[in-house]
């Protein structure tokens, strides 16, 4: 798994690519979320477009990212989530927790609502 961080209008966008599965890869996401929070960002978007595969540990890491950000007063949203990831989130009632958007523009605009 790889994570690249962009700054768009003071929103940290984390472009995630590859397999989000159990193992060392998950620490990569954890570290990037922690780093952008330490850099002062309070608005985060996880861009899921490049995610090729996810398992329950990967879903758990999304939840950890969400709790890390929200407990520090921030907001975290998902964008371009594939249907299968949405299905996994839906089955475990997590679509009620995560705000998910089709595109980046709408996700960024939603922070200002």
């Amino acid at each position: 798994m790889q994570v690249k961080v962009r700054n768009v209008q003071r929103v940290a966008i984390l472009d995630i690519s590859g397999r989000v599965v159990i193992g060392d890869a998950l620490y990569v996401l954890r570290r990037h979320v922690r780093d952008v929070m330490n850099d002062g960002y309070k608005k985060l978007i996880l861009n899921m477009e490049g995610v090729s595969y996810i398992d329950s540990a990967g879903i758990g890491e999304l939840v950890s990212s969400y709790t890390t950000v929200t407990t520090q007063g921030g907001e975290l949203k998902l964008v371009k989530t594939t249907q299968r990831v949405k299905d996994l989130l839906h089955m475990t009632k997590l679509l009620t927790i995560f705000e998910s958007y089709h595109n980046e523009k709408d996700a960024i605009a939603s922070f200002n609502c």
Binding site: D55, S56, G60, S64, T92
Partner: protein
């Protein structure tokens, strides 16, 4: 589709690397038998979750302990058996990830997903030497 019984058996030390390899092998097997693409995805995810459970919670990542996977297809019935060499656990003790207090927990969804994707799932102890999970699913085939 032939009624012949086709089975694959894999046995590996408790390392996550082997989970990836095993999942890939079973995925290829299901594709070879032309199981519907969408079903291959969910079944192989259920197998992955079962194998991770055996490596992590069963054998506690002890690579002197082994995990065994058997996957058999008879007609349209797929039977999967996963065995570990751990101390076992009580299935009733596993928290429901859908309960309000568990929604934001980072783990505990694997067995729930397995039960969601498969038609039948049973957990049992292998005497004093580990746990066995049996999963079954009636699969559909590509035209």
């Amino acid at each position: 589709m032939s009624e012949n019984y086709e089975q694959i058996r894999l046995r590996f030390p408790s390392k996550l690397f082997f989970v990836d390899i095993s999942q890939e092998a079973i995925q290829k097997m299901l594709e070879h038998f032309m199981v519907l693409n969408d079903e291959v995805f969910w079944i192989s995810l259920a197998i992955r979750e079962g194998l991770i459970n055996a490596v992590k919670h069963g054998n506690k990542f002890d690579d002197t302990k082994y995990v065994e996977l058997r996957v058999g297809l008879r007609g349209n019935t797929l039977r999967i058996e996963i065995m570990d060499e751990g101390k076992g656990f009580e299935i009733k003790d596993i928290p429901n990830p859908l309960d309000e207090e568990n929604l934001l927990k980072p783990s505990g969804r694997g067995i729930f997903y397995i039960r969601s994707f498969m038609d039948h799932v049973a957990f049992s102890r292998i005497d004093s030497s580990g746990m066995r999970v049996i999963m079954e699913k009636n699969v559909s085939f590509e035209d």
